[in-house]
Each structure stands twice: as C-alpha cells, then as structure tokens.
C-alpha cells in the first residue's frame, strides 16, 4: 500500500503543506530479561534478524525464540541504508530471492498490521554508455523471462518520469536509457524493523537489547548454546544474522567466511518540496537517490575501499557522489547535505548473499548482503526461518551456500550491479 496522505494538522505558510508522520503505536516490543534457555536464538536484532524471528514464529510455529542485539534494536544497517526496494537483478538466483522478497513487501503492512510507508514509486536504473546500455538491456531481458516487471526507457521516457533529470547529450556521461521497475520503491526503514519487532514480540518472541554474544557452546561440532555478556543461554539452534559483524561471529564459532566488511555511506537533506517521485539509481556515476515521504532527499554513496567497523567513511566519497548527482539533477545545486553517516556492509567475493548451514551443526548463517540488504529484509528472514526450522535450505537460498566458493559456482552480481543499492 502506498501512503502519501498526512495525518496531523499542517503548516500553511510557505508553498507546501507539511506532510507529517502518523503517531506511532503506544506499544512496540516488550522489554524482557533473557531466559536460561530457548529453542532458537537469533544473533542480531536488525531487520533481517527480527524478520527471521517473526517468520519462525508465524510460518513455523516456533515461539520460544530470543533475538539478541548487542546495541539498540535495528541500530545497524537497518538504520543506515537508503531504503531502496527492487527485485530486478540479473541472475536467476538473485532475481528469485529478491522477487520473493518484493512480493512479501507488497503485503507486509497488512501482514504486520503496521504502517511502513512502503511506496511503490518505481525504480529507475540509468545507463550512461553504450556498454552500460548493453548490460542494462540484458538485465531487462533477463527480468522479463523471470516474470519480473521491468521496462526499458529511452532518455525521453526517463524525462517524462523524472522531469528534473538532465538528459542533455552534452553532459559528461549522458543518460542513454534506463531500466524501470514500477513495483520497486522505498519504505521507512526504522518502522520496518519495529513492525517486525512488534509482531514477533506479540507472538511471544523475546527481544533483548544490549546483550552481546561473546562465544558459542559447541560440543561434538553441534551448537548447544551461546555465551553472552549476560551469561550463557542454552539453545538448540542458532541463527547468525548480524550484518557488519558476521566474520567476527563466524570466527567465534570456529569457521571462516569469505566476507570483507566495508563502510558504506549515505546522506540526507533537510525537508524539501517534492521534486522527485521516483527512485533513481546510477551505478556508473554512483548516484542513488529518492525523496522520502516527509520531503528529505536520501542519497547513497559508493562503498569505501577498505575494511572498517568504524561506521564512518571518507568525505571524498560524498563529494564525488554529489558532483555526479548535480550532473544528473542540476536542481539539487542548492539542496543541502544535512547529515551523512556510514554503515558496515558485508561483501562477498561475488557480491551475493550467504544464507545457509555452516560447518557447525544447528548453526546457521545469513550474511553478505553487501549494499542490497534492506530490500531483502522480508525474503531473507523468510528463507532463513525456513532453513533454521527445517534444517535444510529453501530452494530460494539453495544457491547461496558457503560451498559455492569451493565449487566455483559463484553468482556474480559485480559485473551486473556495481554498487547494487
């Protein structure tokens, strides 16, 4: 459901009615203390972890579950992304899982009974050179075969959709065309996590903040519990869903994963009159922009080159990105950068996720979403819940194993995606 109407009285001076967010529900998740034992422990209280807990409870009837969050709920990448949602990925395996996710998005507000500002305003992916056009068109044809809504737009079509975009052939990297996914869009990130948290909590899931997992109780290569900053918690199954800390947790459990953790920055402007009703992405010049419901421009930058857990990146990345943005949107010249921030993205060698069993029995891992995690939240939680509940991967996450790095069966979204916000 697309929500654009305001629910609070609005200011009248100035050129625009102020759109306000509706009041949040009077209750979210129940504050609880950790129990001595659970059937399943989810490590990581971000969107993916909360969604995993929710689907374990809802789809598989497992409610004796704890979600353990080191910091504050959804304070990691869930709070730090650009909220872009789409499913028009190149490879069949990727398209399948992201499309599954998008289908879940389309009913999520009803499902959770929570306003998420899920807005299917469409996602444009621009092409700026002939080879860029070639690969984007391939993407478009691939989507068509996979039953994913996708259109190919000429620069003129793009201009109709986004009147403020500059399609002049004279700019350094002119717009030569674009793929368009009408069902793509954005949602309000914090509320997605809170919606899952509330729904999971209502189903009896324990959500515990400020508790850090310091190790695992593993006997006969089988996980028996987790050691935490608040003591050991016994459990039969553990799901690691802690983007930005996956390598650390895997090492604690005694195995290595092919993940590098990098800073990924984003920024937001002050409230502005609506000028952009579509999500615009351009991997070639690293511009990922949408205008949120309240009116702020939300932009994503490219990932920094080096490993870091500092949740901050280099300012030069922001500067180059804004230069590119102004070539595309001259009207942004006087928009202001209000706030910049960084998340920690776990990037696998093929820029595809890892959702699978691990060398440790009953220990499952979900990581490596790179820059694409937010859009995958429902689908990721859904297949992770299935994998944990049944002990076997769902066909949707079957290709996304750790084993693929040994067999060589990578799902290389690098060539296709660049930075796949």
């Amino acid at each position: 459901m697309t929500n654009t109407n305001d629910t609070l009285p609005s200011g009248t001076i100035g050129r625009r009615q102020a759109a306000a967010l509706p009041e949040q529900p009077p209750n979210l998740w129940k504050p609880v203390k950790p129990k001595k034992a659970y059937d399943t422990v989810i490590v990581g209280g971000g969107g993916h972890g909360l969604a995993t807990a929710y689907y374990l409870a809802k789809n598989h009837g497992l409610t004796n579950i704890a979600v353990l969050e080191k910091g504050w709920l959804a304070g990691g990448n869930t709070a730090r992304n650009t909220t872009i949602i789409r499913s028009n990925y190149l490879w069949d395996e990727s398209a399948a899982i992201y499309e599954h996710s998008l289908k879940l998005w389309e009913t999520l507000e009803e499902d959770l009974g929570y306003e998420l500002f899920f807005s299917q305003r469409g996602v444009l992916t621009l092409a700026h050179s002939i080879s860029d056009v070639r690969s984007k068109r391939r993407n478009f044809y691939a989507n068509a075969l996979n039953g994913i809504d996708s259109e190919w737009l000429t620069p003129e079509d793009v201009k109709k959709l986004v009147p403020i975009i500059n399609i002049s052939p004279d700019v350094r990297y002119p717009v030569l065309g674009a793929t368009y996914q009408p069902r793509g869009g954005i949602a309000k990130h914090d509320w997605v996590a809170w919606g899952y948290a509330k729904a999971a909590s209502d189903l009896g899931v324990d959500i515990i903040q400020g508790i850090e997992v310091t190790g695992f109780d593993i006997r006969n290569n089988k996980v028996q519990g987790v050691h935490t900053s608040q003591g050991t918690i016994a459990t039969e199954k553990v799901g690691l869903v802690a983007a930005g800390h996956s390598s650390i947790l895997a090492n604690l459990a005694g195995f290595s994963i092919p993940i590098q953790s990098r800073p990924l920055q984003a920024l937001v402007s002050p409230l502005l009159e609506q000028v952009l009703n579509t999500v615009v992405m351009s991997g070639a010049v690293h511009v990922y922009v949408s205008q949120a419901h309240k009116g702020e421009l939300v932009m994503g930058a490219g990932a920094d080159a080096f490993n870091s857990y500092a949740q901050r990146g280099g300012f030069h990345v922001i500067e180059h990105q804004l230069a590119a943005a102004l070539e595309l949107f001259p009207i942004f010249s006087r928009a202001q950068v209000l706030r910049t921030w960084g998340g920690i993205v776990d990037i696998a060698p093929d820029a595809s996720p890892i959702i699978c069993l691990t060398p440790v029995e009953n220990l499952f891992i979900n990581c490596g979403w790179g820059t694409g995690g937010f859009k995958a939240t429902p689908g990721s939680g859904w297949v992770m819940a299935y994998t944990i509940a049944t002990g076997t991967p769902h066909e949707l996450n079957l290709p996304f194993t750790l084993d693929r790095f040994v067999t060589g069966h990578l799902i290389d979204e690098h060539g296709a995606a660049g930075v796949a916000h």
């Binding site: 209750n27 504050p31 700019v171 350094r172 002050p270 409230l271 901050r312 010249s333 202001q336 209000l338």
Partner: protein, 893 residues
C-alpha cells in the same frame, strides 16, 4: 556600519550592513516570523546563530539558497528572502555561482576564534608554529561580539601575527581520521550585489593539521514548559544581545527564567538597555556569584525555586503573559510580559569531537556533556573542555513537572514540532534508548540537528526514567556536517566537462573535424563512426565495413593499453601471466594472449610482440590498460621478486594506427619505402622496424578484422602528421576512416571476442571456445581453478554464433535465448539457454548475425532457437562463431 535595505516576505526593511537579518527584523518589530512545520503555530526568532530552530528563510536574491536561519544571514543591499515553515524549495533557475575547493596543510588548526581559540592560537604561535584559525562568525571574539565588547589588544596582535591565517565565515563541518578537517567558507553572500563575479561563493577547505584545537564554544539551552514556543520567548543570551548590541527596542516588560547565572547577566544587560525586567525566576534553591549580587543590587526581583509553567498569547499569537510556579509549594501566579528570556544552562558544542568517535562525558559540576581531551593530535579548549568562565554554578534542571495536557504544548524540538507528550509516548511504548526516542519522535532530525533539543530530550528522559543522570541516558550521535552544506559547494569545480577527465588521443582533433560521432569508453572519447553528410549510423557503418573488406580503411587504435616489458625473465614472466606460451615466440613476431585472474576467469587479452630476446611490447584492451599494468606489478612485487623484469606503461608514448583491407599493403608501400612489405618478407603476426622521413615507426601485421592489416606504431607526437600523410596518399584508394562500431562488426564477423562484451566476468577461456589458448604444458595464473567442479561441468555456456531467420533482423544485444516453444512455469518464469553478447548487420554476409553464450552451445550446432523480444519471438539458428573466411586466407594474404 552603513544602513542597507533588504526585502523580507515582500516588505522592505532597513538594517545595518552585516548585522544578522534576525536582528534587523526584530528591531522593526517583527516578532512572529513564520508558522511551525506541522502544528502551524506562530514562531519567532529564539536564538542567536546556527542553533536557531524557528526563523528559517529562503533567499529570493542571489543563489536563492533555502533553509538558512535568519540569525546567520548578514544583511546587505539587494538581499531578499522569504519565510519558510521548515520546508525548503529548490529553485529551477540554474545556480550561476562559482564554488571551489582548496587543500591546506598547517602545523596547528584552531577551530573557533573566541577567547579560548585565540589564546590557543597565541600559545602555538609563540611556540613557532604556523596556525590556521577558522571561525564561523564574520568577526573574531566569539561571545565578546555578542556582548558588544572589543577584542583585547593582545588578542588583536595574535590576529596580526605573520604565522597566523585567519578565516572568518568559515565553519568546520567535519572532523575525520588523521586530523583531517573539512571546512566551508561562505565568501560572497554577505557582499550582496557587490560580490565580484569571479569570487567563489563557497570554498571548501580540505585541511590536514599536525595538531587541532577544538574551541567551538556552546549553545544556550531553553527550558521545557507549556507553550514554550511563542514569539517573544527567547534564549536569554540571544534576547540580551539583540536588545543591548543590535538596539532592538520592541520589548517593554521582560521576565527571565533561569537555572544558572547567565540569566542574571542577561537580565542586567536587558535592564541597562532600558528594558523593565520584572523578575528573575531561578529554579535553583539558591545561588551566589557576582552577577546574582549585581542583579539584586540593581533591584531586579529574583526568586529561587520558581520557574515558568505555562504561557499565554495575545491575538497575534505572541507572548502576553506567563504562569509562574513555586517549585516548593506548587502555587502558581500570572505575570504579564512581552519578552521571556530563558536560560537553561550551556551545552558545549561536542559535534566535531564525536565525529571521530570521542565520547562526551557528563559533568554534574557543569551540568553539561564535556569533551576534555588532550593528545598530541587533538586538544579541546574553552567551554568544550569545561571552562565556562563567569561566576557560574549551574544546576541540572530542564523544566517543571507537566500534566499530560500541558505536555502536548511543551515543545522540545521546535523545528519538528515534537513535544514532551510525544517523548512520553515513546517511553510508554517501551523505548529506552535515546536513539529509538529520536526516531520515534523525530526529535533532533531537523535542520538544526538537535542543537538545542538534544539536551532537552536527555533531560526529559532523565525525569521520565525516575531522575537518572544524563550520564546514564547518553547523548545522541552527531554526524557531519556540523551545519547543512549545499550540494554545489561539495561538488566544487567537478562540474560539466571537469566532472570527470575526458581522455583523448592525439588524433582526436582530426576525428572532430571529420565529423565523427563519439562514444565514451571509460574516460576515453573514441570515434564511434564517421557519418558523411546525410548518412545514418547504419549507412556509415556499412560503408566503413565495406571499405575495410574490399578496399582500405583506417582507424585510430591509440587508446589500446601498451606496456613495455624488459628483462632476462620477461618471457618466463609472460608464460606465468598468459594462459598460452610466450617463451617460444621468436623475436620480431607477435602473439595473441589471454590472461585470467586466479579464479580462472578471463580478464584481459591482446597481442604481445617480442621485440628481442628480453624485450616485449604488450597491448591490452582500452579499458584494461591500468588494471593489467597493476596486475603485472602486483605479481612482480609481491610474489615473484626474483624475476628480473621491468614493466613500463607507454600507452600515451605510442600511438597506433590500424590500416585494414585488401588494398592496405598497396597504400602502405607508398608510406613505408625502407622495408619489404610483401607477404613472404613480412608475414602475418610479424613486426618490423621502419622509418617515415626518418621518423622511426614499428609496423606489425596484426588483424582484429580478419583482413590483411597493418598496425603503425609511432610516437604520440608524430601520429597526427603521419595520419595526415596517410590520408594524402590514400585519396586514390578512397581511404576510409572507421570507428569502434565498424571495428566491432568486423571482429564479430570473425568471431573475435571483446572481453567485457562477449564475457560478463564468469567465462573461462574454455567457455569462449578457446581451449587452444590454454597451455597444458605450463603453470599460469588461474589454471588451478579450471579444476573446480563447477568450472569443468559440461553444459556450461559457450561462445557460438547465431543467425536470425529474417536476414535483416538484428537481434538486440543482451536478449535471452530459449529453446523453441519454451513455456513459462507456474511462477511465470521461462528458462533460458543463454544470451546474445554481440549483434550486428554484416554487409559482407548481407545479413544480420550475432555472437552468443549458449549452454552447451558447441553441441547445439544447427539447432533452431527462440529469442523472445517482448511479445515478439525471433527464431534463429545456432552456428559456428566464425562467419567470414574460416580458412583465414585474407589475413595471411
């Protein structure tokens, strides 16, 4: 100071040049400036600088920047603005202003030119350091300016010191790792219409300093009470400054509500400026200090344990009267006032310090979060370090206890219209972490990023959580930039043609004159095709192709990467780098080679010539040039230091001209007379030195078209004259220039791949039907990966040709291929067997054709397949990927 006039909300105002617009508006009696964003309540100026939560304006003059606080805009002639309700607008008109950047290195950077900053600067100057002093105000002195005081002479000397650079109107917006600061200097807005055209409006400073001193000062806090947002309610320091320094004379009856001695100091200033101060209501149970005594001596009634509970407004919505509450008896009474000056204590500006992860520490003594930090690299000073000056003993008090109804109008974040009520709901919803409260209430997310509301939120949470200490609640996280910065400033000069380098060959001007249409290949501009007047692209490409196949055509191949490789181990080295063998290559001969990464995936290819035993000349793809050289260096430096090899890029030292076609030898004979170009004397894939008018050139019989072809390699600077001469000689041959499109058609007709077009980063040489190039005899990078299960499975996609049934139908590149009559499954998915990588019309074949990657393609020869294009279904036949001259007679001719 001179008087200027400016326009606000379409009315003319007078002001003193350089004073804040807020001061001029107040002096003229404009109390209510705008309505609030969501609640639509009247709001007026409440602060003194960037912390201002209400008075946001959009410039109508100049660059029309939006969301600027009237408290920081300096009035000048010709300036015009209008009020905003907290939502900015992006003007359509192009931004004509100039924005630039500079890079600056200095021994010591001092941020903040208040007393603390100036004293620090003096200290480092005395120690012989060079100092850069930046400050966001138009004049130095910090609070002195607000007090209307002059700088002491000693500090004026600091500013005059030869080793000091002082930048005013320059705001440090971000502190980054290794003492890197980004600062924004606003350089022309204050000049109004007298700003020079060539002066950049905003300059971004990238500053790297050995030592940084943070002396940013602080913001005064408001208090939380019902209806605390009315015009006429101001921070006491702001009110006193507007009245005492800027001559605002619109207030007659003032009341001061305070929790520190600042309230007394400001009450005195108001009083001295002729404002009747009816009372100071101090929430503390008592306080000493000179300012308290002075206020008493001045006869200003002061009362402890009392504060403001609520306010009332007159018809215009501006302050009319207050309800004062005795905090011991809870008795209340009314008092009339048109100015309420509030002093809730000071909040040091911790923002920059927290940018690099320094955690502020709560000080009960100062009733504030401090950063008292001192290392070799970074030091804090002034208020931030706990030096509040004055005679203060502040207390922790944020406001009286309010009932639910009152809390609906007790504003914490005035920009976001977020109230104590909203905050209570958040706590009620089970939220404990301040970051959750922020997101639940949107407090601190507005234009001012919580500069005044942040501490109020912490204070309110302390009360709601049972009077815990702010230390337990912690601060909100601050992120760059400290104040909003226009996109244009951060883009700087990186606009238009300077937004990214345009790389061109030395022949580029000729191509332009010849009317070439260009394509971007990475940063290069390459001629795509050369249309004659009236020709379509299709016409031009067909003409160019035909010339190359039947006559003689020429192209500028200078963008190819070129690497000079020398040393006794050069051949061994190439054997390890390339999948095929180069040590057996005779001197003076060329060989096509392919490179894989360690994962076995093809990543670059090109022809390498052995100039002599220990000397090779490698060419790479245009896009791969830098990557390949880096790849070679990485292996030499980090794995094989024992190999005696040196690699040198000569991409732009050597220009390459490709002469192609059955008549190319004839034409070349006229240009090159000192070597025998005959088939036998100069066979295919051989290289010869020659001269043209004494200019040394190297000729190679290399063909990317399958035709008889020669490459002329010559020093960059000589390429244009030689190209010109070739054209003069070529006229009788109808010499034709061709671009990248024709090059692609010609090579595709021969089944020659282009890495990056016919590959997508998942193909091994085997997949490209090039097992012949993979040496079985030797080790090379990537070989091991060919043994990985998935890379040796049968049925992998392989490079094959495709011929559409309809000869004129050029299949779109990127299109997917299915078996005949493929049907979608229940999820609407249709499985495919591959896709089209290259597709063109071939004049030579008189039909369209394509190169494709098809699963098990080599075993599907002759199979008719389908290519769905939307509703349309193209039928085509899989065939060998070589379409022309399979026997290679032409290139050998």
């Amino acid at each position: 100071m001179s008087e200027v006039s400016f326009i606000f909300d379409d009315k003319l105002y007078k002001g003193q040049k350089g004073e804040p617009m807020a001061a001029a508006l107040l002096r003229s009696g404009l109390l209510s400036i705008t309505n609030s964003t969501y609640h639509g309540r009247p709001r007026g100026v409440a602060g003194l600088g960037v912390e201002e939560p209400n008075a946001l304006v959009q410039m109508v003059s100049g660059t029309k920047e939006s969301m600027l606080p009237a408290t920081v805009i300096e009035v000048a002639d010709g300036l015009a603005a209008h009020s905003l309700t907290g939502i900015g607008a992006l003007p359509e008109a192009p931004d004509e202003a100039r924005y630039d950047k500079t890079n600056h290195y200095v021994d010591t950077l001092v941020i903040g030119a208040g007393l603390a900053g100036l004293k620090a600067a003096e200290e480092y100057l005395c120690a012989g350091r060079e100092v850069l002093l930046i400050d966001d105000q138009p004049v130095p002195g910090g609070h002195l300016r607000h007090l209307g005081l002059e700088l002491p002479a000693a500090l004026r000397d600091v500013l005059a010191h030869g080793n000091l650079t002082y930048l005013c109107r320059c705001t440090a917006v971000g502190l980054y790792d290794q003492n890197y600061v980004v600062a924004i200097e606003r350089r022309s807005d204050h000049l109004g219409n007298s700003a020079p055209a060539n002066r950049s409006r905003i300059r971004v400073w990238h500053i790297r300093a050995d030592k940084i001193v943070l002396a940013p000062g602080g913001f005064q806090r408001p208090l939380i009470f019902a209806n605390n947002d009315r015009p006429g309610i101001m921070l006491s320091h702001a009110a006193a400054t507007y009245v005492a320094v800027h001559g605002v004379r619109i207030f007659s009856r003032a009341v001061v509500a305070t929790v520190d001695n600042q309230g007394y100091r400001d009450a005195l200033r108001l009083r001295h400026a002729g404002v009747q101060v009816q009372g100071i209501y101090d929430a503390r149970s008592g306080a000493g200090g000179s300012s308290v005594d002075a206020a008493r001596a001045a006869g200003i009634p002061a009362r402890f344990r009392a504060t403001v509970l609520d306010t009332a407004a007159n018809a215009e919505g501006t302050l009319h009267s207050l309800t004062i509450q005795d905090l011991d008896t809870n008795e209340t009474f009314q008092i009339g006032a048109d100015l309420l000056a509030v002093s809730g204590g000071w909040t040091p500006i911790v923002d920059l310090a927290t940018h690099i992860g320094i955690k502020p520490v709560w000080s009960e003594e100062h009733a504030a979060f401090l950063v008292n930090h001192s290392t070799d690299q970074l030091r804090t000073a002034g208020m931030l370090a706990g030096d509040f000056g004055g005679d203060d003993d502040p207390s922790v008090f944020f406001g009286p206890a309010l009932d639910p109804e009152q809390s609906r109008y007790a504003y914490i974040d005035l920009q976001r219209d977020a109230t104590l009520h909203d905050l209570r709901r958040g706590v009620g919803a089970g939220l404990t972490n301040i970051e959750h409260i922020k997101r639940y209430t949107t407090i601190g997310t507005a234009h001012d990023q919580g500069k005044t509301s942040g501490m109020l939120t912490i204070g309110a949470l302390c009360q709601l959580n049972g009077n815990v200490s702010p230390a337990d609640v912690g601060t909100l996280s601050f992120r760059p930039p400290y104040v909003p910065v226009p996109f244009a400033a951060l883009a700087g000069r990186e606009r238009g043609e300077l937004s990214d380098p345009v790389r061109i060959t030395v022949l580029h001007p000729w191509h332009v004159e010849a009317g070439a249409v260009f394509e971007d290949v990475g940063q290069w501009k390459r001629p795509w095709y050369f249309p004659k007047p009236g020709e379509s692209m299709e016409d031009a490409v067909r003409r160019e192709c035909t010339a190359a196949r039947q006559g003689v055509a020429v192209m500028d191949a200078s963008t190819l990467g070129k690497i000079d490789i020398q040393g006794p181990d050069a051949a061994v080295f190439l054997d390890r780098i390339y999948t095929n063998i180069f040590s057996t290559l005779p001197e003076g001969q060329c060989r096509y080679g392919m490179m894989c990464k360690a994962d076995g995936i093809a990543f670059d290819d090109g022809v390498t010539t052995r100039l002599d035993k220990n000397h090779f000349f490698m060419t790479t793809t245009t896009g791969g040039a830098a990557g390949v050289l880096a790849w070679l260096e990485e292996w030499l430096q980090t794995e094989w230091p024992d190999l005696k090899v040196y690699c040198t890029s000569v991409t732009e030292h050597i220009s390459t001209i490709a002469l192609v076609g059955p008549k190319s030898r004839q034409l070349l004979r006229e240009l090159i007379t000192d070597i025998d170009l005959s088939k036998d004397a100069f066979p295919f894939m051989h290289s010869r030195k020659a001269t043209i008018d004494g200019i040394p050139v190297r000729i190679a019989r290399i063909s990317f078209s399958g035709e008889l072809a020669f490459e002329i390699n010559v020093e960059w600077g000589y390429a244009r004259p030689i190209w010109e001469r070739l054209w003069a000689l070529g006229r009788p041959y109808d010499l034709t220039a061709y671009g990248t499109e024709t090059m692609h058609v010609l090579r595709a007709e021969k089944g020659y791949i282009i890495i990056g077009q016919d590959t997508d980063g998942t193909q091994t040489p085997y997949d490209l039907n090039m097992s012949w190039i993979v040496s079985k005899k030797k080790e090379f990078i990537g070989k091991r990966s060919f043994q990985l299960p998935y890379l040796k499975t049968t049925g992998r996609q392989q490079l094959v040709g495709l011929l559409p049934e309809n000869h004129d139908e050029v299949i779109p590149e990127g299109a997917y291929i299915t078996v005949l009559n493929a049907q979608p499954d229940k999820q609407g998915k249709t499985s495919h067997i591959g896709f089209v990588t290259s597709s063109y019309y071939s004049p030579a074949l008189g039909r369209a054709f394509a190169l494709t990657l098809v699963a098990d393609g080599l075993n599907r020869m002759g199979e008719v397949v389908a290519v769905p294009i939307g509703k349309k279904m193209i039928h085509a036949t899989i065939c060998d990927a070589v379409f022309i001259d399979k026997e290679n007679i032409r290139r050998y001719s």
